[in-house]
């Protein structure tokens, strides 16, 4: 009897989750607005505020560019933030801000993220981290 109940529960769960996986997905990016920033990057401001502004869509529609009001103060290599779908599939979406010397990467889990933690690498070596929290 118990095995029947288990089996029924599993089947119901499989149906429910299969339906849920057919929902469309969206690109993930930070919400525009004012953020509280903390950084431990060398020669950078450790705490303060900055703004993320939407700048432009890429021609392919896979990426979006955002402008940071004063991101370089906190250790970002530039004031341009590239966000969106990096590969064709739904997998591996991320946000980066990069130049030749330092690359900062963040994992965005939500479609409109209000917080994020950037890991900034110089080559293969993790150099510092930057945390954003929307105000």
């Amino acid at each position: 009897m118990i095995s029947r109940i288990y089996s029924g529960s599993i089947l119901a769960l499989a149906i429910a989750t299969s339906l849920a996986t057919s929902l469309p997905t969206s690109r993930r990016a930070f919400n525009v607005g004012l953020y509280q920033v903390k950084s431990d990057c060398p020669n950078a401001q450790t705490e303060g505020r900055m703004t993320i502004n939407f700048h432009t869509d890429s021609p392919t529609g896979r990426e979006e560019q955002y402008m940071l009001s004063n991101g370089t103060l906190f250790g970002f290599p530039s004031n341009t933030l590239i966000s969106g779908r990096v590969r064709d599939s739904d997998k591996g979406e991320e946000t980066t801000s990069s130049d030749d010397a330092r690359e900062c990467r963040a994992i965005l889990w939500e479609t409109g993220a209000d917080s994020g933690l950037f890991a900034c690498y110089r080559g293969e070596e993790l150099e510092c981290t930057i945390h954003l929290q929307k105000i």
Partner: protein, 204 residues
């Protein structure tokens, strides 16, 4: 979608397992490396990991399974497997400011089929199993000295994972109690080694 269909077939087999003999309860504990329950972001995957290049998640895996056993055919016995489990794992990297760490805990269900031969080696039952896992809930946290972000995993876990193949050696220590050693081969992580215990219960 193929994985969904395979999962349905497994579930249908379980529902129609009206030929059950005597069932068993099994508890297993193991070490997990890599990403045994991938989500659709693949942030923890060895292949796609850009936050922790060259590193993979490492943690523990505990599960409880209900084995619906079929009538033995000669020296062969078989069982449908229904399981519920939990994985906790993390990966970290140090830098001059401290430690950047990604922690993940995931609850999953699994279903599969097991076949064993009871007389290849005296006192030891050797078998193989094909099992499919599916994450149902979880939480992932990324933290560093300057702050942290956290996400409740839900819909991104719903894609059924590819089935994994496992080998199991069972040693009966008492008439109804046996201990198991298992090795499992996941698609997105290294082989997992497990130990466990199985207790035969009457057909419910």
């Amino acid at each position: 979608m193929l994985m969904n269909k395979v999962f349905f077939v497994l579930c249908y087999g379980l529902v129609s397992a009206s030929f059950a003999q005597a069932d068993s309860l099994s508890i297993s504990l193991g070490r997990t490396t890599g990403d045994p329950v991938p989500d659709r972001h693949e942030y923890a995957s060895t292949l796609e990991n850009r936050m922790f290049p060259g590193k993979e998640m490492d943690g523990t895996h505990v599960e409880a399974s209900y084995l619906i056993k079929s009538k033995p055919i000669g020296r062969f016995s078989s069982a449908w497997i229904l399981g519920l489990g939990h994985v906790t794992a993390d990966v970290e990297t140090s830098y001059q400011g401290g430690t950047l760490k990604l922690e993940r805990s995931t609850t999953f269900i699994q279903a599969g089929f097991q076949i064993q031969h009871t007389a290849l080696i005296p006192h030891l039952h050797l078998g193989a199993e094909l099992v499919m896992m599916k994450g149902i809930a979880g939480q992932v946290t990324l933290r560093s000295p300057v702050g942290r972000t956290q996400y409740e995993e839900g819909t991104n876990l719903l894609e059924p994972n590819h089935p994994y193949l496992g080998g199991r050696a069972t040693y009966p220590v008492m008439p109804r109690l046996s201990i198991d050693a298992m090795v499992r081969f996941y698609r997105f992580s290294g082989p997992g080694l497990f130990i466990g215990a199985t207790y035969d219960i009457s057909n419910l």
